[in-house]
Amino acid sequence: MNLNSLIIKNFSRNLKNYGLYIFALVFSVSLFFSLLTLTLDDKASKEISQSTMMTSLFSVGAFVIVIIIIFFVMYANLIFIKRRHRELALFQLIGMNKSKVFRILLVENFFIYFGSLICGIILGFFISRLLLMILMNIIGVDLLVEMNFSITAALVTAGIFILIFIFLLIQNKYFLHRHQLIDLLKLNKVSEASQKPIGLATGLFGVLGIIMVAVGYFLSTKMFEWAMENPILLPVLMIGILVLTIVGSYLLFKCGIALILNIFRKRKAGHVNVNDVLSTTSIMFKMRSNAFLLTVITVITAISITAMSLSYINYYSTEKMLESTEPYDYTVENKEDLDYYETLLKDHGYDIEKYEKTFMSSHVEMDMESPLPEQEISYPIVSDEEFEGYDLKNNEVYVTGTLAILDFFTNMEEGTAVTFVNDDSYEKTLEITKVYTEGILPSRLTFGMPVLIVDDQIYQELKENEAYEKEHDMPTELFAFNIVDGDNDEILELMDKEENPSFTSKQKSYDEMIQMSGMLMFILGYLGFAFLLTSGCILYFKQIDECENEKGSYRVLRKLGFTNNEILRGLIYKMIISFGIPLIIGLLHSLFAVKSGWFIFGIEMWKPTLIVMLVYTILYSIFSLMSLLYYKRTVNNSL
């Protein structure tokens, strides 16, 4: 029997093992290829990537995917090669030298790898069409999804994966080089728990990990507040928080969890039951690799949930943001333009409802701390007579058009006292009684500030004392209109011509915003999904690996008289620890991350964030169920 027939025989008999590996490869290739196809497709990119920002977003996405894939494929390869350690040892035992063993691996890998590459590209092609349809749906663009197979994308994909292939070869070579024959024969049997008794140091490090995470969380809630005072702090704090939480998580897993499990095990003093055997002791046995893996999964989970939540908050809030910043269908500059459009639209059979309002600006002092210098805050003020639906008492102020991000500058809450002042000694103090997110003036007239509504009597009084603001040349008039039967694209098209006076359109702003935030959400969602799949697969592979190693244990336990169900119950605990801990800590990380900066992205935090977390958790749980099923099969077949 020569080397080649050995390889072929080996290959066909190892197909079950290879299944896992091939799946990992095909999945990664299609993931990358589909994203690349989207980026390179002419039609799609014309429609979606008008701005350079979008193009660069796609490139960043593709880059991140490559990094994930490298990590993922190398991890899968490592598990795979470890699983075959006995075979590799046997080859060497019968006198093959290491380079020959390496050659066997190389030839095998070559076929698997490039087979998967081709499959992955074909699969990726279909996925990319699906992705494009989803994308178009999200950003509300009608485009017939029709895509050509992109040769460039295929070539780039192939190029990247050849590079990864070289990485894998180096990894395999290193593995063979590093492990002596005796190690290969004993691999997986040696405990990774430190043989030394758990000392004070481990305990201290465990506690340190918890403290680091806690400090990271605390800083995250203060980050923007402090950064307001000193902008330099922002990047420093961001990096600091990242380092604190990541290192803290690692210490927590490495020492904290080892410590807890150890105390637990010590307290049992050998009186372990079957649940302990399958969960705690099994996890402790491979503590070192478990700690690293759990940290990686936690960080990945946290990053992807944070990114997805923020982008979803952004997308989700678009409409509400618009209610706040663009309350009218169309806003124009002056009375003549308003009349011009009224005639134009009447001619085409559209009725409009005109709004001509006046308002003023006044300097206001608020009864609270604000990081901004007081003098510069000046708010637009309107009378309740001017706007319908409001009727205030003469000691009340309503605030409209507050965005969450403004909370930093002006924390306006119901009950806050507001004092109107001018250069002279004039002062008038009122109390805020209602706060609305919706706006009554477009943000281009208010410069993004919230608008205060006061009683008409107060308004007149303020007007008389208005002196200060005159110098600032703030706008004081609004010319806007709504279309009575609702706005549509035809009206926009009719108005949007060179010869017509300029205007801002709510519809147009909406389209632009939704495209922007939709695109962002798509890319981040895609990356998040890739992260999810990767981390889920990695955990699944790890579980399969451990399951194979512990097969003997299940047989022993069953021979000793433990039933399938008793063993499975123990394994459920193990799944809960292995999958649950990184998920929970990851969710916690991302919750604090989202909480620290969500207001930049939108006006609603909890609902979108919880939706993202829920969906993530459900998808993630699928992997734990898959692992459990694998365990169940193994346990049932073990006797």
Partner: protein, 253 residues
């Protein structure tokens, strides 16, 4: 009789290609008895042991333990039965890599409502008798084969089962470790009055038992009781019977 097996048959394969391994075996084991099963490779020793210990199911026949027939029991009941009444020692030790020696030994006690103190006493007694008390906190990968097999024996005895089944317990051990282990087995068998059923192909190992049952081609060929014989005489008797039995052993002698 503690264990009574009548007309046990076991066959493998499908309707067209059937191999009958056990062709109707009758066997009994008294309380406190130490019985060896010998026979050439392929004579059905291990299959018999697996069937008697409820790990494998019979094709036909009945096995009674304390007058109770367990061949009709469902899997779950069988597992309970193994947990409480039976102990096992295997050729390849079958220790759990992830547990320390102490935890491995104490495992069968976990399903019993036994106070920690009692369990601890039990462990101390048994591990002292088998000479492995210093290994308590080591992992299986850190101890020798002989130690591993004694750990396995301790695990089999700790819950004081009615019968211990031992499948080639000395198969992987050198002769010194093997006779050490067998002496301990013999002592425990006498002290605790636990019955032992051991499969072996080693005449030395068999000479530690009260009775040897010889199998040939799936049937009981003959059996040999030690009675008042010295171990040496008994040993040569066993060898003689083996020679008569023929098979592979004939050529090796």
């Amino acid at each position: 009789m503690l264990l009574q097996a009548s007309n046990i048959k076991k066959s493998y394969g499908n309707k067209f290609n059937r191999t009958e391994v056990l062709k109707g075996i009758d066997l009994s084991l008294g309380k406190g008895e130490f019985v060896s099963i010998m026979g050439a490779s392929g004579s059905g020793k291990t299959t018999l042991l697996n069937v008697l210990s409820s790990i494998d199911k019979v094709t036909s026949g009945h096995i009674y333990i304390d007058g109770f027939d367990f061949t009709t029991l469902k899997d779950k009941k069988l597992a309970d039965f193994r947990k409480t009444d039976l102990g096992f020692i295997f050729q390849e030790y079958n220790l759990l890599d992830t547990l320390t020696i102490k935890e491995n030994i104490m495992l069968p006690l976990s399903i019993r409502s036994m106070s920690k103190k009692e369990a601890e006493d039990q462990f101390n007694t048994i591990s002292q008798q088998l000479g492995i008390s210093e290994l308590a906190d080591k992992y299986p990968s850190q101890i020798s084969g002989g130690q591993a097999q004694r750990t396995s024996a301790a695990r089999a005895f700790i819950h004081q089962p009615k019968i211990i089944f031992a499948d080639e317990p000395t198969g992987a051990l050198d002769s010194k470790s093997a006779s050490d282990l067998l002496k301990k087995l013999q002592q425990l068998n006498e002290n605790l009055n636990t019955s032992v059923l051991m499969v072996t192909h080693d005449a030395t190992a068999a000479s530690f038992s009260n009775r040897v049952v010889f199998l040939k081609d799936g049937l009981v060929y003959t059996s040999l009781t030690r009675g008042d014989m010295s171990q040496d005489d008994y040993y040569s008797e066993i060898l003689d019977t083996q020679r008569v039995l023929g098979g592979v052993l004939d050529e090796s002698k």
